[in-house]
């Protein structure tokens, strides 16, 4: 009890020091450093001694279902963003769509840098060790390592198509992804490695035999020509360290200093997950590997398996309630227990197309705010409106042409399947943009010209999911003291009905001076748009440089 109290007290102090106490920096402090905003999150320490760990599926599942994991403090701003509210590149995330131009060809190529499995004889080196889809591990004729998984019998193209498309989507969003190749496997091209081991029902490991693949192929969808369609995931370079959790940090990784529930790119998976129906948010679907950068060992974090997407699971269509309810929701359980199964839920009546390849995936009844993964995910529970907005901007950046090109990489044999998946993704994209861009002031791309004219964009209006505020925008201008964290008004607020506004006279002219501008909508339909975004500029010899964006200043 005493420890719990001490911990609670200390966490409060810690968070106050990290977030709130910054309102009153010490004499030596400053809000913006000269290198702000940083574009890359550094890994400054050698992490070579990080030890592999194995996160037990059932322990992970149980803890997430029945306990609130990670920091429970509400309304904590993401801890790994830079000063302009963006996520720097890192071994977790690489900015692509939404921040940098991504061509359709680049998106459709995704993470691929190496060729497909070399043709010829392939050698099975191990049975599949995780997941429910039938598969195995093999080396191709050039000795490259591949993890192979098949479509379940009766559901052609479902699992493999989902993996291929989701792999490209999540790469384009910025996550580290494995290289997946769609392949065709024939039983007669397989050999068994003399070192391959197999553990049958008896539990006693023995050398693997070709006949051990009987069960794998019995559960896999066989094509008319006797071949089997599969996804081959190239083995990742570097030492495999196991998965990561969506809360806490890895205690033996010196560079892992931001609790995962406070990492924006992990919080953002709530929005990306809703878009793609990525319901299986477990540590087992992630993978950390040790790579060498600048002669140091550092940990790279992969979203290894994003195949639990759209409307199909490893062995057929999803359960109807997936995406709508947690596996166990004690509050709901209590209600339904006493109310004879009521209240009813949307999943009970949502109409789905009868489609084996895409499964149960639809956009008409979909509500992003109601979407849920299988288990409560700490990073999702910590997500704030600014995190959701950041994610929604990226979803909205996928134009229809790109979505259709990405869906094509699933190589669905029926055009109707391809159309259904793309149509639903477009529908869900629009709903996500409308929902999350309407929930916070969506002004972006602030530029302050040397002569003091501020221009910006409204991301929601540009995405076609909102109308400009009826009475335009108002800007409140201040000189900002970077050391004392104080602002003093400059002139009167200025207003515009467009997306640029002239500042008052008297802006700091000397290099190193800062200006703070609070920009809010006036008369916007969405109340949140009438709340200001605080933006900060630093005067440099070349003009004004954007150094700070705080989309939720009132949340401090």
């Amino acid at each position: 009890m005493q420890v719990t109290r001490l911990r609670s007290a200390y966490l409060l102090l810690a968070l106050a020091a990290g977030l709130g106490a910054g309102d009153v920096p010490s004499a030596a402090g400053r809000r913006f450093f000269n290198d702000d905003p940083i574009q890359r999150e550094p890994d400054s320490q050698d992490a070579s001694n990080v030890a592999p760990w194995d996160i037990d599926l059932y322990v992970d599942l149980t803890l997430n279902l029945f306990a609130r994991m990670g920091d429970k403090t509400p309304n904590v701003r993401a801890g790994n963003i830079n000063t302009i509210d963006e996520v720097p590149d890192s071994n977790w995330f690489t900015n692509r769509i939404g921040l940098r131009p991504v061509t359709i060809d680049q998106a459709a190529n995704g993470p691929l840098v190496n060729p497909a499995p070399a043709p010829g004889r392939w050698t099975v080196t191990a049975p599949k060790r995780s997941g429910f889809a039938p598969g195995f591990t093999m080396r191709d004729s050039s000795d490259a390592l591949w993890f192979v998984s098949f479509d379940a019998d009766g559901f052609p193209e479902a699992a493999t198509g989902a993996v291929m498309v989701a792999n490209k989507i999540f790469w384009t969003l910025g996550y580290w992804q494995v290289e997946n190749q769609l392949i065709s496997v024939r039983r007669d091209q397989l050999d068994i490695s003399p070192t391959a081991k197999f553990t049958p029902m008896s539990g006693r490991q023995r050398p693997m035999k070709l006949s051990d693949l009987d069960d794998v192929f019995a559960r896999a969808q066989r094509a008319a020509d006797g071949s089997y369609r599969a996804v081959a995931a190239r083995g990742l370079p570097g030492k495999v360290l196991g998965g990561f959790r969506y809360y806490g940090t890895r205690p033996d990784d010196p560079n892992d200093i931001v609790p995962h529930e406070h990492r924006r790119e992990l919080r953002a998976l709530k929005v990306f997950g809703a878009w793609t129906n990525l319901v299986d948010m477990k540590a087992g679907n992630t993978l950390d590997t040790m790579v060498t950068e600048n002669s140091r060992g550092v940990v790279r974090h992969f979203l290894q398996d994003v195949g639990s997407t759209f409307g199909s699971g490893a062995n057929g269509p999803r359960e109807y309630d997936e995406g709508y309810e947690y596996l166990i929701d004690l509050g709901l359980l209590k209600k339904r227990f006493f109310l004879l199964g009521f209240p009813s839920a949307p999943w009970m009546t949502v109409p789905y197309e009868d489609n084996y390849a895409i499964g149960r995936f639809e956009g008409t009844e979909f509500d992003p705010l109601d979407w849920k993964p299988r288990v409560p995910t700490a990073a999702f529970l910590s997500a704030r409106a600014d995190d959701n907005f950041w994610a929604a901007r990226r979803v909205a950046a996928f134009n229809e042409e790109m979505i259709r090109a990405l869906v094509k990489t699933g190589q669905y044999s029926k055009p109707a399947d391809e159309k259904l998946l793309a149509d639903v993704l477009v529908q869900r994209r629009d709903k996500i943009a409308r929902t999350y861009m309407g929930a916070i002031n969506p002004l972006i791309d602030f530029v302050l010209s040397a002569d003091g004219r501020l221009s910006f964009k409204n991301a929601a209006v540009d995405a076609g999911v909102g109308k400009p505020p009826a009475n335009g925008y108002q800007a409140v201008w201040s000189a900002y003291d970077n050391t004392a964290d104080t602002a003093s008004a400059i002139g009167s607020p200025t207003a515009t009905t467009g997306t640029d506004v002239q500042g008052p006279g008297g802006l700091p002219a000397a290099a190193g001076g800062f200006v703070k501008i609070s920009v809010a909508g006036v008369g916007a339909e969405q109340a949140a748009w009438n709340q200001p975004v605080d933006v900060y500029f630093r005067r440099t010899a070349a003009g004004w440089q954007l150094v700070g964006v705080d989309r939720m200043p009132a949340a401090k």
């Binding site: 420890v3 402090g29 892992d256 009546t349």
Partner: protein, 406 residues
Amino acid sequence: MDECACHWIQYARRGLLVTLALSALLLGPGVANAQESREESIAAAQAEKAKHLAPYVPNRAEALLSRALTALTVEPNGFYPMFGSIYSGGGFTLGAGYRHFVSDRASVNASGLYSIKNYKLFDVSFHTGSKRARPELTVKVGWRDATQVGYRGLGIDSPEDRSNFRMQQAYGGAELTERPVSWAIFRAGLTYEDFSLSEGSGGAPSIEEVHTPVTAPGLGESPTYLHANVSAGIDTRPATEYARHGGLYEVAYHKYSDRDDTFTFDRLDAEIVQHVPILRENWVFSFRGRLQTTLSDSDIVPYFLLPALGSGSSLRGYSSWRFRDRHSLLFSGEYRWTPSRLAMDVAIFYDAGTMADRLDSLTIGHMKSDVGFGLRFHSPVATPLRIELAKGSEGLRLVFAGSAAF
């Protein structure tokens, strides 16, 4: 250093790292420090953590969960605990088994069970195959001792007063199961069954004190049988021990050949189960019909092998073996709802059944019935715990079972 102080230091370090990390990365607004750049600031936080690196140690909750999961995991080879049933009405039963695989899919299993009513079971079996690796073959020998099995006479109107008998059964035989396609199931078996009947124990009088061979056919005899059975069924349920859709349509034929032919008889069992899901299985109406009929009116079926009703798997509001006769008919209906589709079902049920000495005497108008309420804790394929409260004309009964109702 006491434990609390150690924890405090750990939490303090962890908190400090969180603070440093958030401060270093975040400007909302940030904090003061001695570094000259953001990168240096982050590097300082990482360097600070580097001083306190520790291997991952599961916390108390994780360790506890891991231990619990390990305890629940049954290894393929070795000893394992058993919670089962020796014979209906035996009460709470515990036991242990030992399994040893002799090849990839073939195992030898020895088990022993004991119940609070002094029922005993020893069983040694050989099993090969699986649902996927067809066919399945089970060969078994064993001995069962049920010390106080209830008997109340013949027919649906038999009196409530109970007598007990003791049944000891030595058996040895084999059964083959084949599923040529996922929805079809065929079984064939041959078993040698040697029964020894004697005075019952427990609070009720022994059977011979109350009944005669007229009211308890075969009383005083201990026949030995060669029991042959074949069955064929259509089974579209996703799992036999838990289903919210699909059905079972099965017919089984049993031939009990008495060694001296006195008590030879043939029985036909027909069972229909159908689960009707409503609104994506949030609600399920489940129906069951079962007929057990002795094929020849001239055959004598000994009292302990007569079709029966009563128990947690038939007429749930009545005690085990409450009704016995040559023919039985059972209907059950359930309204189920699923507060959690991963873990729990709730059901309101109704059972009705009747017995008769002639098939054409089985009438729907003359049935015993019960109503009840049940909780089922389940996985996607099994029902490890079913708790039901049922009310029949003879009072309330609480059912604890480790299997699906039907």
